[in-house]
C-alpha cells in the first residue's frame, strides 16, 4: 500500500456524508461574494450598486493575480459590504439580491481539443482556482516557466481531512468529467502520465477510475495528511519535493479533483466558477450531506437549509485539522470552501494547554520531520533562530503535532507565528 512516513489516524467521521449523493442547495435571497478568495490582492469590483447582473457575469477581478469573480445568481447589486471572512473580521463582499431567475450568461463553449493558449485564457476568464484549499489561480499553475520539465500530472483525490467527502462524491459520481478535465490539463502541460491518488477508504471512487486506461489509479493508505502535496507526490511517485521547492521541481503538477472538474465545465460548457460541491457535516447538523452551493451563500443560510439539531460550539470552514473557525455565521462560501462543519462540544478539543512533558510524540508524527516541541519552546522564548533551526519554515501546518500532544499545546499556532516572524525579519 502506498504511503508516506509518519502522520496520524484521526477518527474520520466521513460516514456521516460518504453515502450522501450530490444534491443542489437552492440559493438564498441574499448572497455576499467575497472579494478576497485567494492569497493576494483584493479583487476590484466592476459592477456598481443598483446594477443588474446575470448569473455568471464578471463582477470583480484582480488583473495582477489573474483572478476573476463572477456573480453566482442573477439579480441586483445592493452594494459593497464589509463582512467577516474566515481570516479577517472585515473584508469587502459584493452583496447581490437574488431574483431567482437564474438568468445565466455563459462564456462561449470551447471543444475539448481547444488550443493550449485558449484553454489557459478560458481558465483565467472563468475564475478557476485551486479548490482544495489554497485557491491559487489554475491558469498560472498550468503554465510553469519554460525549461521546467514536467512529466506527471497528479489528481489529488486523497481527501484525508476528517468529515469531508465532497471530492469522494465528485469522483464517484462525476468520474468521466474529471477524467476528461485531467486529459485537458495533461495536454496543456504536455505530459503523458496522469495519476489519480485516492485513499483506500473510498472504494467507490477507486472503482469509478479503475476502468480508465489513460489514468493510473494509485490506491493510497488512508492516513492524514495524505492529501498534502509533498506527501501525496511522495506516496504516488516516490519523489521528494526539495525543501522550499515546488512540485514542479520534481516534474509534477498536482491539482485537486474539484478544480479539474470545474475547469472542465468552464472549457466545454463556458460555465464560470460560481458554485462548488461542499460537504456540510458535523454532529450539530440535522441533514448532513454533499451540496452544490453557490459562491457567496452564507453559513447562516446553510445552517437553515440543513437544520441544526443542537447549538454548535464551533463552526469551521474546511476540515477539523486545517480548517478555520468562523466567529459568526455571516461568513460566505468561497471557491476553496470544501466543507462547512457545525461541531458539538464532544467533537472538538476543548482541553487547556499544560506544560510540555517532552514525550516527543509531536516529532514522531510530523510528516515534515520537524521538532515541534522545540519550535514551540523557542518561539515562546523569542528565539526565532532556534525555531528556524528546527524547521519552522518547512511546516505545512497539517496539525499532526498538536493532534497527538498529550499536553494539548497549540503547537501549530506557535509554529505559524515563528514562520511568519522568521520570514518578516529575514532571520
Amino acid at each position: 500500500m502506498l504511503t508516506f512516513s509518519r502522520g496520524v489516524h484521526p477518527e474520520t467521521n466521513k460516514a456521516l456524508t460518504a453515502d450522501k449523493r450530490i444534491e443542489k442547495m437552492p440559493p438564498p435571497k441574499d448572497l455576499y461574494i467575497p472579494l478576497t478568495q485567494h492569497i493576494g490582492k483584493e479583487c476590484v469590483p466592476v459592477v456598481a450598486e443598483g446594477d443588474y447582473v446575470r448569473m455568471g457575469q464578471l463582477i470583480a477581478r484582480c488583473e495582477e493575480d489573474g483572478v476573476y469573480i463572477h456573480s453566482s445568481v442573477s439579480g441586483t447589486v445592493k452594494g459593497i459590504e464589509q463582512l467577516p471572512t474566515l481570516v479577517a473580521p472585515k473584508s469587502s463582499h459584493i452583496h447581490i439580491e437574488n431574483d431567482f431567475e437564474d438568468n445565466i450568461e455563459r462564456l462561449s463553449p470551447l471543444g475539448e481539443d481547444a488550443s493550449r493558449e485558449s484553454a489557459l485564457q478560458r481558465l483565467k476568464e472563468a475564475g478557476i482556482v485551486g479548490m482544495g484549499g489554497a485557491a491559487f489561480p489554475t491558469h498560472k499553475k498550468l503554465n510553469p516557466p519554460r525549461g521546467e520539465k514536467i512529466d506527471t500530472f497528479i489528481l489529488n483525490g486523497a481527501e484525508c481531512e476528517p468529515y469531508i467527502t465532497c471530492d469522494h462524491r465528485l469522483m464517484a459520481e462525476r468520474a468521466e468529467e474529471i477524467r476528461r478535465g485531467a486529459r485537458l490539463f495533461a495536454r496543456i502541460l504536455g505530459v503523458e502520465r496522469i495519476i489519480v491518488g485516492i485513499e483506500n477508504n473510498k472504494p467507490d471512487a477507486i472503482e469509478a477510475f479503475k476502468g480508465f486506461s489513460d489514468i493510473e489509479v494509485k490506491v493510497l493508505r488512508a492516513k492524514y495528511p495524505m492529501g498534502a502535496e509533498k506527501q501525496l507526490i511522495y506516496a504516488c511517485t516516490g519523489r521528494k519535493v526539495p525543501l522550499g521547492g515546488l512540485p514542479k521541481d520534481v516534474g509534477c503538477i498536482v491539482d485537486n479533483v474539484h478544480t479539474v472538474y470545474s475547469a472542465y465545465l468552464a472549457v466545454t460548457q463556458g460555465l464560470p466558477c460560481i458554485e462548488r460541491l461542499v460537504t456540510v457535516s458535523g454532529g450539530a447538523v440535522e441533514n448532513p450531506g454533499n451540496y452544490i452551493i453557490r459562491i457567496g451563500t452564507t453559513y447562516l443560510h446553510i445552517s437553515e437549509h440543513c437544520g441544526l439539531k443542537e447549538q454548535p460550539v464551533k463552526v469551521l470552514g474546511g476540515g477539523p485539522m486545517m480548517g478555520t473557525a468562523a466567529f459568526d455565521l455571516h461568513v460566505a462560501v468561497a471557491k476553496a470552501t470544501s466543507s462547512v462543519l457545525f461541531l458539538t462540544e464532544k467533537e472538538i478539543n476543548t482541553e487547556k494547554a499544560s506544560p510540555c512533558i517532552n514525550c516527543g510524540r509531536c516529532a514522531r508524527v510530523c510528516p515534515m520531520y520537524l521538532m515541534p516541541m522545540y519550535i514551540d519552546a523557542c518561539t515562546i522564548a523569542g528565539d526565532y533562530k532556534g525555531a528556524k533551526k528546527y524547521g519552522a519554515r518547512n511546516c505545512i501546518e497539517c496539525g499532526c503535532c498538536a493532534y497527538v500532544c498529550p499536553a494539548k499545546r497549540p503547537l501549530v499556532q506557535s509554529i505559524r507565528l515563528a514562520k511568519r516572524i522568521v520570514r518578516e525579519r529575514n532571520i
Binding site: 484521526p10 477518527e11 509533498k230 511522495y234 521528494k240 519535493v241 526539495p242 525543501l243 522550499g244 521547492g245 447562516l300 445552517s303 441544526l308 447549538q311 454548535p312 464551533k314 469551521l316 477539523p320 485539522m321 480548517g323 478555520t324 473557525a325 468562523a326 466567529f327 459568526d328 455565521l329 472538538i348 478539543n349 476543548t350 482541553e351 499544560s354 506544560p355 510540555c356 512533558i357 517532552n358 514525550c359 516527543g360 516529532a363 514522531r364 515534515m368 520531520y369 520537524l370 521538532m371 516541541m373 522545540y374 528546527y390 518547512n394 501546518e397 496539525g399 498538536a402 493532534y403 497527538v404 500532544c405 498529550p406 499536553a407 494539548k408 497549540p410 501549530v412 499556532q413 505559524r416
Partner: protein, 326 residues
C-alpha cells in the same frame, strides 16, 4: 436557535486524540502495580507503608511548592505520584520512615520544581533522590533483608516489622537461583526484585505506547554484552540482567520523557551510554548497584545529544544544505 453567534474560535487543528498527561502518568502507575504488590508480599506491610509515605510526601511537597511559589496547582497531572511510587520502590525494605520523606523533598523540590516542574527536570527525580539518599544514609540505604518467611502464616509475618534477617543483594554475592531472581524472592529494594512483575508492567507500557522498546531493550542488551566481556562466562549474563535495579531502571526510570532524547537516534545513543555505565560501575566500583548512577549520567548527556541529533526535514538535500526556501 437563539444564540447562533457565540462560537469557539481557535487555531487549527480543532480536534485532538484522547491522550493526556494524567492518563500517561496513570498508565505508569498501573504498570508499577505488579512490582508494588510483589514488593509488599516479599517484604511485608512496612515496605508497602514506605511506598505510600513516599507517594504522599511527593504529592504534598509539590502541592506546598506550588502554593508557596504561587504557581498553578500541578498535583493532578499525577507526575508527583509516579515520582513517589518510583522512589518508594527504590528503597530498601526497612529504612526508617523519615528517609522517603527526605528523599521526596529532594526529588520534588530540588530536582523537579526548582528547575521548572514537569518536563523541565534535568534528571529523573526518583533516581537523583535515590542517589542522594544512598550518599547521605549509606548504612540504611544498603541494608537489605531476606524476603518474608510465610511458613508461620501470612498475617503474623506480613505485619512483622523487626524480625527480618539482613542479607546482601545478589549483586554482591548474595547468590540466588534463577527462578528466585525471576520471581523476586531475593533481597533488594522493594520494587526491583521481581523481574516477572516488572516485565508485566513493561509489556503494559509498550502496549499502551507510553514507552517504546528501544531504550529498555538497548540498555539490557548492552549490559548483557558487557557482562559477557567482563565475566567471560555466558552463565553470568542472565543473573546480571535479573538482579539489581536493571529492569526497574531500564523500563521505568531510564524512559522518563523529560530526561531522554527526543529522537529515536538520540535515544539509541543514550541507551548505549546508560547500559555501558551500568555494567562498568557494577564491575569496577565499590557500589554494588550501577543502574542509578548510569541513568543519572545518561540524563546529563541528554541536552548534548539533543543539541546535535535532530532529523533532517522531509525533502532535505545536500544541494540545498541550508534548507533555504528558494
Amino acid at each position: 436557535m437563539a444564540q447562533l453567534e457565540k462560537f469557539k474560535v481557535s487555531s487549527s487543528p480543532h480536534i485532538a486524540d484522547d491522550a493526556s498527561v494524567d492518563r500517561i502518568m496513570m498508565d505508569v502507575v498501573i504498570a508499577l502495580m505488579p512490582a508494588t504488590v510483589a514488593g509488599a508480599i516479599f517484604f511485608g506491610f512496612y515496605a508497602l507503608l514506605l511506598v505510600l509515605v513516599s507517594i504522599a510526601a511527593c504529592v504534598l511537597f509539590e502541592y506546598l511548592y506550588d502554593l508557596l511559589a504561587k504557581k498553578m496547582n500541578s498535583i493532578w497531572d499525577l507526575s508527583a505520584v509516579v515520582t513517589g511510587l518510583l522512589l518508594g520502590l527504590n528503597l530498601p525494605p526497612r529504612v526508617p520512615l523519615y528517609i522517603p520523606i527526605i528523599g521526596a523533598a529532594f526529588a520534588i523540590i530540588i530536582v523537579k520544581m526548582l528547575f521548572g516542574g514537569i518536563g523541565k527536570n534535568f534528571a529523573n527525580p526518583a533516581i537523583a533522590a535515590r542517589i542522594f539518599l544512598t550518599l547521605a544514609f549509606m548504612r540504611s540505604m544498603t541494608m537489605y533483608i531476606a524476603p518474608m518467611d510465610y511458613s508461620g502464616g501470612f498475617f503474623p509475618a506480613f505485619f512483622d516489622i523487626y524480625d527480618a534477617t539482613a542479607t546482601a543483594t545478589p549483586l554482591r554475592g548474595g547468590g540466588a537461583d534463577l527462578l528466585s531472581l525471576f520471581l523476586g524472592n531475593i533481597g533488594g529494594c522493594i520494587g526491583e526484585t521481581s523481574a516477572l512483575a516488572l516485565l508485566l508492567g513493561g509489556a503494559y507500557l509498550l502496549a499502551r505506547r507510553v514507552i517504546s522498546f528501544e531504550i529498555p531493550l538497548i540498555i539490557i542488551a548492552t549490559v548483557a554484552a558487557f557482562t559477557l566481556i567482563f565475566k567471560g562466562n555466558i552463565s553470568a549474563v542472565l543473573p546480571a540482567l535479573l538482579s539489581g535495579g536493571l529492569l526497574l531502571g531500564s523500563i521505568f526510570m531510564a524512559t522518563d520523557y523529560s530526561t531522554t532524547p527526543n529522537t529515536a537516534r538520540g535515544a539509541i545513543i543514550y541507551a548505549l551510554i546508560v547500559g555501558a555505565f551500568t555494567a562498568i560501575i557494577r564491575q569496577y566500583s565499590d557500589y554494588p548497584e550501577g543502574m542509578s548512577f548510569a541513568i543519572l549520567l545518561g540524563n546529563l548527556c541528554v541536552p548534548l545529544i539533543d543539541k546535535y541529533i535532530y532529523p533532517k526535514n522531509f525533502g532535505y538535500s545536500k544541494e540545498r544544505a541550508d534548507g533555504n526556501r528558494s
